[in-house]
């Protein structure tokens, strides 16, 4: 109570403090606005830069696709029949004729034979060990092991 009275009293005695408060508030608002603006600008610039990078990547991808198309066309041209034929002749190959081909029937081979897929033999399923250990049981085991420990006297 005494404090509030003192506060009111102080302000009544010092009217310039109200003006200073208003100025401080305006200044603070101005700086806040600047900070928000700067943040927005930084963010927008960041987005814009990323956008440009993305556009570059898209352009690069399109160029690579076009390049791939060109290479595909070139491969197809290099694999054209007249070129392959000329190349084969340069390498000494000659056209096969009916008289130079010998067909070798594989006697006994029947391509339409009945297919008999291998039958899987059913193996009896192995017994799966049953897991019935409990935490208390495990504690009991540890305790038993501890209590059954014998003092090592071999070194004596």
């Amino acid at each position: 109570m005494a404090f509030s009275n003192w506060f009111e009293h102080t302000f009544k005695r010092r009217p310039w403090r109200t003006q200073r408060q208003a100025i401080a508030l305006v200044t603070l608002s101005f700086f806040v606005a600047i900070i928000i603006g700067a943040l927005y600008l930084a963010q927008a610039a960041n987005v814009s830069t990323t956008g440009r990078q993305l556009e570059d990547l898209i352009l690069q991808r399109n160029q690579l696709e076009q390049s791939n198309e060109q290479i595909r066309a070139e491969i197809a041209r290099l694999q054209s029949v007249p070129r392959l034929r000329d190349r084969a002749r340069e390498l000494g190959f000659i056209d096969a004729s009916v008289s130079t081909i010998e067909y070798l029937p594989v006697l006994g081979y029947n391509p339409q034979r009945e297919e008999r897929p291998a039958v899987l033999i059913q193996q009896p399923a192995a017994d799966v060990p049953v897991y019935d250990e409990t935490f208390l049981g495990w504690l009991q085991q540890q305790w038993d092991a501890f209590t059954n420990q014998q003092p090592d006297t071999s070194g004596e």
Binding site: T50, E69, A76
Partner: protein, 584 residues
Amino acid sequence: MQQQQLQEEMFKRRLPVVIFGLLIVSIFLLGRMVSFQFQYQWAPEVINYLEGLRNSGYSQTLRLAAARGTIYDRGMQALAVNTLEYRVGISPNLVANPRQVATQLAALLNLDELDTFEKLSSDEPYVLLASRVSAEIGHQVAELKKEIPGINIEPIARRSYPQGTLAAQVVGFVGGDLEGYYGVEGFYQEQLAGRARDELISNIPFDVPQDREEDHGGNIVLTIDRDMQFLAESELQTAITESGSRSGTIIIMNPGNGDILAMASYPSFDPNTYFEVDDASLLINPAISQQYEPGSIMKVLTIASALEKGTVSPQDTYVDQGSIEIGGRMIENWDRQAHGVVDMTQILVQSLNVGAATVSLRMGPSDFYSMFRAFGMARPTGIDLQGEASGTMYIPGDENWSESNLGTNSFGQGIAVTPLQMLTAISAIANDGLMMQPHVVRQIIDGDLVQTSQPSALGRPISAETADIVTNMMVAVVRDGLDGNASVPGYTIAGKTGTAEIPSPVGYEPGASIVSFVGFLPADDPQVSVLIKLDRPSGYWGSEVAAPVFRRLAERLVILLKIPPDDVRAALAAQGGSVSEIDR
């Protein structure tokens, strides 16, 4: 003073009226402006226009053309692909040293240096230096652009045909307007081209750009076998050169499913340079669009029709007197000789016009023409290529039909067919009487969607029994009638030759003929049917000109198709196998 007071009073009286008027106009304009915000009252085109007007400030609409699909042969070898070319121009006023730049560009673009220098010294804001340069040169110019300002290089999408002239008339070409013309490019324009897409592009730098990936048209896999096509084209070219023919066609088809394996015609064109072709008729595929009188190969259909209708049996005979008069027209054999008593097989083996005419007379026009209709005469096959002709056949009731047509049509004169129609009809005999729809597209691949063409039948003009009988007759033709001109050692072949006169406005041209051979192999298990046609050879007869071409082609085909000789196939069959199972 009084005057002034009067004026002031008048002003005071009028002012509210003016204010009221202005207020009314302002309210009307305001109301009108507000009304623009409510779009329901506008027609869609007005809304689009207004939205366009609104968006034009901060965005633009870009039309993205789809990349055209690739065309492959059945072995997935590319027949048509997309490439880029470049258009090169320059802005002379930005060039500091025209002499040096002219030297560099002229060397790169293969231009005249003086002309280039004159262009670079002009006052024009832009001059075109080269309208089409390859991608390789284009990249070099792009490098040069980094050093020389003012160079303008513009990419142009182009269709490239890496196999050159191979299957040009089947594939067709893409024009400068990026539309497909003729062949598969024309017929499947919609599927290959895909759909252009409009996309809104923002002009605001803060907006993240959208991924403007182009759409792709569907890829098309043909039934054409590139190796077989090359074989057909090279054999055709050899045949035309050797026989002195003007032009010709070879078609190879799988009679069992209608797959066109090769379709070659000569002369042809290079689709890469279609714009240099002087004669536009070269762009059209004669195998499907050129009608001709087929001559004696039609006798096969006449005999098959008569057997099917029960008019004759294979053993039936007639007495050949060398000529017969039908409808006031005298019909003679090719050798103008009488051949005595002959049976149906000998009509084909000796290619007797009188015999074929006698059979058609016995059938009568009704049965004869209904059977020819069933074989697809005067009806397009419906092949998936642009520009198919339907052929011409006059029937009773037509103004141009006379009784003599019944006789002449039986041996392939006075009737016009396309090479494909003829082969389709003969293939029905090879396929147990079932006539299959010919087609050149095997698959359309659109992203993950693969549409595979299913074989479809055009009809069954004859029974399997009749087909078997006629096949044996055609085997006899090749074995006994052609002096071995069409025979391949070790293989049984069924076939028939044809020699047709060429009609002109004043009758038939003397000494000129169209020779042909149609056949299939192996006769007992046909894997391919073949038609060979040569126009105006220096030799006159099909048996002398066309049959040897078939033999050479068949010798290569059995190797390409891995068809073993008859004895090997018999051994294979004895073990339960078949050549149909050979992977090709």
